[in-house]
């Protein structure tokens, strides 16, 4: 079936099985490789994207539901053409190790900060539930607080 949506500000139409996970459409049809496959069962968060501004695990999101939505992936995450504060904070704190999980965490964090501009540690624990095997959580937490500060300064 034909499914039309906007991705990173661009309108696209894909002809695909509507049940196919959106993750693979993003990665292999639209060739945006920043969204990662980790588990395919909504259990790790590596595939996190924004659908209409909300964090969604795209491995478990049927493509048919993308119809008419606005999708953002790590490649399109910016703030008014500027570097996104979450990306900036991630660079400042030198968070990534292998880097594979990082786009998912950055997308999850960016979505959280639109709902909770100043998260407490407890709120971070409750909302950021992706997996990082390299164990970069300690720097991530610092980066999340820093991103919140950067974002609040800018606004």
């Amino acid at each position: 079936m034909k499914i039309t949506f906007s991705i990173n500000g661009k309108q696209v139409s894909v002809d695909t099985n509507g049940e196919a996970p959106l993750l693979w459409v993003i990665r292999d049809t639209l060739n945006l490789k920043g969204t990662k496959f980790g588990c395919g069962k909504a259990a790790c968060g590596a595939c996190t994207i924004h659908v209409d501004g909300k964090a969604v695990r795209s491995c478990s999101f049927a493509t048919k539901y993308a119809e008419g939505t606005e999708i953002t992936t790590i490649e399109g995450l910016s703030s008014g053409g500027q570097k996104h504060p979450v990306k900036q904070a991630w660079e400042d704190e030198i968070v990534p190790q292998c880097g594979y999980c990082q786009p998912g965490f950055i997308m999850a964090t960016a979505a959280m900060l639109t709902e909770i501009p100043n998260p407490t540690d407890q709120e971070i624990d409750d909302n950021i539930i992706n997996i990082c095997r390299c164990g970069t959580y300690y720097r991530m937490r610092k980066a999340i607080h820093r991103a919140a500060d950067l974002k609040n300064q800018n606004s």
């Binding site: 588990c39 030198i94 292998c98 594979y100 786009p103």
Partner: protein, 724 residues
């Protein structure tokens, strides 16, 4: 500047040094226990040299448009090696560190690491060779610049990518134009430490921006023109084979091109990953199980007393032969099967065409993979090019990457490039696991509370014996000669060598599934057993675990002294106390791995029966830290991975299958489990850099268990740690 050492004292410059000479020479004298023990001790203490190419022309590429590209034979899997290498290269080459681009060397370029990326050895092994290669390259450029400028070499200064003559200067890019006759100096002058601009400094990671922006840098992101996707079906059960296959329509599903049935697997080839995977899941088959296994039979199999025995350490008397009076204490410990659970699944993209093969993949064994692919295809090695990518985690999981062979064979058969990846279930069930272990710790303690003797007798599955790092023909030999798997015994020897009597022995048994290298190998489990036991001894004699440890270490030995230093530092920095304050207790543990001692204090409370780790203080001596910030990042990563493995992770055998099969069910540490404070103190107890990426994984399990002991009074003897 100091001259690189020449002749005998010469460093590893321009020459491949003797491959594992210590092990093989020892191997000739079969059956000699003291020689085996020397090998075990050496393996624990010495840093093996870099084994690979060290010609500057293979490592450095300088382009006319002033790009300085470093072709690394070591892969970047998160450990920060590329950044360290960029620092070392920039230092000696005389360019800005931000201007160095580090890439993975393809095997075609000839820059081949004969071994692997692993063992925390990349920076430790390459520190001197790369300095010398960089210096040689700089001198080669300097000589050519002098020629082009028509001035004596001594009049040309090399700075920030410029060759500066008395009147005129050239960029390095201008120097390389039209030069074909490079002369490699035999004894290049390397910088002295006091002159370092980049080495030893906190330089941001060179791969930071790509990783923050989700650049397509991993094996799973690779594509080739006209490729198809293959999904492989293998029996999920262990020790089993497949029979009575019913394709059940898989071969006629949308997108499916063909189904290939081989002895080892069934391959479904389709035009997309999802179609290949869905069709593969349609296939029905029966499983024939050779032997029934479950977690219980496993525990009976990996058990002290079962399998071949090898003495690893033997100093003084066995406990039963100690004549002084005292009480004997004995505690048994267990650790489970651990999965790597690296985030990027294994796979490869391969193209075989016109007698040439190209394979793109994440691997820790680039040259071994090339050799395996060449052999499988019947090609000569020079007709196979391996293109390594960034790894979405390594941790030892990619020390054998046979999907390169499968993808290449399928490409050869189909005539198209093939991308072949595992899904997460396959990843969990076909892992090369951390083997389960069983430990019997025993001590004799005198009336006055003095430790008279200490013993660690343990059993473990294989780590190194069956690995791809040892050529298949040598597996039997290694096993027959060494009898103790060098990987399993990592961290298993007793480091308290001031004791009059200590003894370590190892029982080895094979498992029906693959076990191999898991970050730090035997270190985590061995340290958990030994350091938990030491803590219990300290408590039983009403002693203080810091003093007790220090008293068993010998300050006249440089190695032991470094262990003492990390213990003292961590205790002081953490403000170590035996007291439980507001429900929080501290636990201390220490280890030494590959010559890098590490001590940690974990601050723990128990909330709703769940252990919470609030803070970890870590004192770590990895020698000279090339990039202290990234050493700390490795410490933090090891602590979180250690917390995960020690507190949550466990594979079981259910219906002859390894379970669980996905994240979530395979419990792992998440953000909420990570300590909010990690305080790392680096002690540079050696002038040269030592191993970094694994040693800090040692103490954490025991440190947590020791803290819990102070709160509950219970000694936890099993990982994952649970409050009963």
């Amino acid at each position: 500047m100091s001259k690189a050492k020449d002749k005998k004292g010469r460093r590893r410059f321009l020459k491949v040094s003797g491959v594992g000479a210590g092990v093989l020479v020892g191997g000739l004298i079969v059956g000699c226990n003291p020689i085996r023990r020397t090998i075990f001790t050496r393996a624990e203490k010495t840093i093996p040299p870099y084994i690979g190419k060290t010609e500057p022309m293979l490592w450095f590429q300088i382009t006319p448009d002033n790009k300085y590209i470093l072709h690394s034979s070591k892969v970047e899997m998160g450990q920060g090696t590329f950044t360290g290498l960029a620092q070392i290269a920039a230092e000696e080459l005389g360019v800005n560190v931000e201007d160095v681009e580090v890439v993975h060397a393809q095997t075609d370029t000839g820059n081949i690491d004969a071994f692997a990326t692993g063992g925390s050895l990349s920076i430790a092994g390459l520190y001197n060779p790369l300095r010398e290669m960089g210096a040689a390259m700089r001198e080669m450029l300097q000589a050519k610049a002098a020629e082009k400028l028509g001035v004596p070499v001594g009049d040309v200064k090399m700075e920030n990518g410029n060759a500066i003559g008395p009147n005129k200067s050239l960029t390095y890019g201008e120097v390389v134009i039209d030069v074909n006759d490079w002369k490699v100096p035999k004894r290049p002058s390397i910088k002295e430490r006091k002159d370092f601009k980049y080495i030893g400094k906190d330089i941001p990671r060179v791969d930071l921006v790509e990783k923050v922006n989700g650049a397509p840098i991993f094996g799973i992101d690779a594509e080739m023109e006209g490729m198809v996707y293959a999904s492989l079906l293998k029996p999920a059960a262990i020790d089993a084979s497949i029979k009575n296959i019913d394709l059940n329509g898989a071969d006629t599903m949308a997108g499916v091109e063909q189904v290939i049935i081989r002895d080892e697997y069934i391959a479904v080839v389709a035009s997309s990953y999802i179609e290949a995977t869905q069709a593969r899941r349609m296939i029905r088959y029966e499983v024939e199980i050779n032997k029934a296994w479950d977690t219980k039979t496993l525990e009976e199999h990996i058990k002290v007393g079962k399998g071949t025995k090898q003495v690893v350490q033997k100093e003084g008397k066995r406990i039963e032969d100690i004549s002084e009076s005292g009480k004997v204490v004995e505690i048994e410990f267990h650790s489970p099967i651990g999965a790597h659970a690296q985030m990027e699944p294994n796979g490869a993209v391969a193209s075989v065409k016109d007698g040439k093969a190209t394979v793109i993949l994440s691997t820790q064994v680039v040259s071994i993979t090339r050799d395996e692919v060449a052999k499988a295809l019947g090609f000569s090695k020079k007709d196979v090019n391996i293109i390594p990518t960034f790894l979405g985690g390594g941790f030892g999981r990619r020390l054998h990457t046979p999907l390169a062979v499968h993808a290449a064979l399928l490409s050869q058969e189909i005539g198209k490039p093939v991308k072949c990846f595992m899904d997460r279930k396959q990843e969990f069930q076909n892992d090369t696991f951390r083997p389960p272990t069983h430990h019997v710790m025993k001590a004799k303690v005198s009336q006055e509370g003095k430790i008279l003797g200490l013993e660690h007798i343990f059993a473990s599955g294989n780590v190194m014996f069956e690995s791809a790092l040892i050529p298949p023909f040598a597996h039997g030999f290694m096993e027959g000669f060494l009898r103790a798997d060098i990987g399993s015994i990592r961290g298993g020897s007793i480091m308290y060598q001031k004791l009059a009597n200590y003894h370590t022995a190892y029982y080895h048994n094979k498992l029906p599934f693959a076990t191999s290298f898991w970050r730090s190998l035997g270190l985590l489990a061995n340290t958990f057993a030994i350091e938990s036991f030491i803590d219990e001894l300290a408590l039983s004699v009403n002693g203080d675990p810091v003093t007790m440890r220090l008293e068993m270490l010998d300050s006249s030995d440089s190695h032991q002294k470094r262990i003492m230093e990390v213990i003292k530092t961590v205790a002081q920095k953490a403000g170590y106390t035996n007291e439980v304050v507001n429900g929080r207790a501290m636990g201390l543990a220490a280890s030494i791995d590959a010559g890098s001692p590490c001590a940690q204090v974990a601050e723990v409370s128990i909330e709703n029966n769940q252990i919470m780790v609030h803070k970890v203080t870590c004192a770590f001596d990895c020698g000279f830290a090339i990039n202290p910030d990234q050493v700390k990042a490795q410490v933090e990563g090891c602590i979180n991975m250690g917390i995960s493995a020690a507190m949550f992770e466990k594979m079981d055998i259910v219906n002859n299958e390894l379970q669980p099969i996905n994240y979530g069910a395979y419990r792992m540490a998440m953000m909420k489990h990570s300590p909010k404070e990690i305080d790392t103190i680096l002690i540079e107890g050696m002038a040269e850099p030592g191993p970094v990426g694994e040693p800090p994984l040692g103490p954490i399990g025991a440190a947590i268990a020791n803290a819990v002991r102070r709160i509950t009074g219970q000694r936890i003897t099993r990982m994952p740690l649970e409050i009963s």
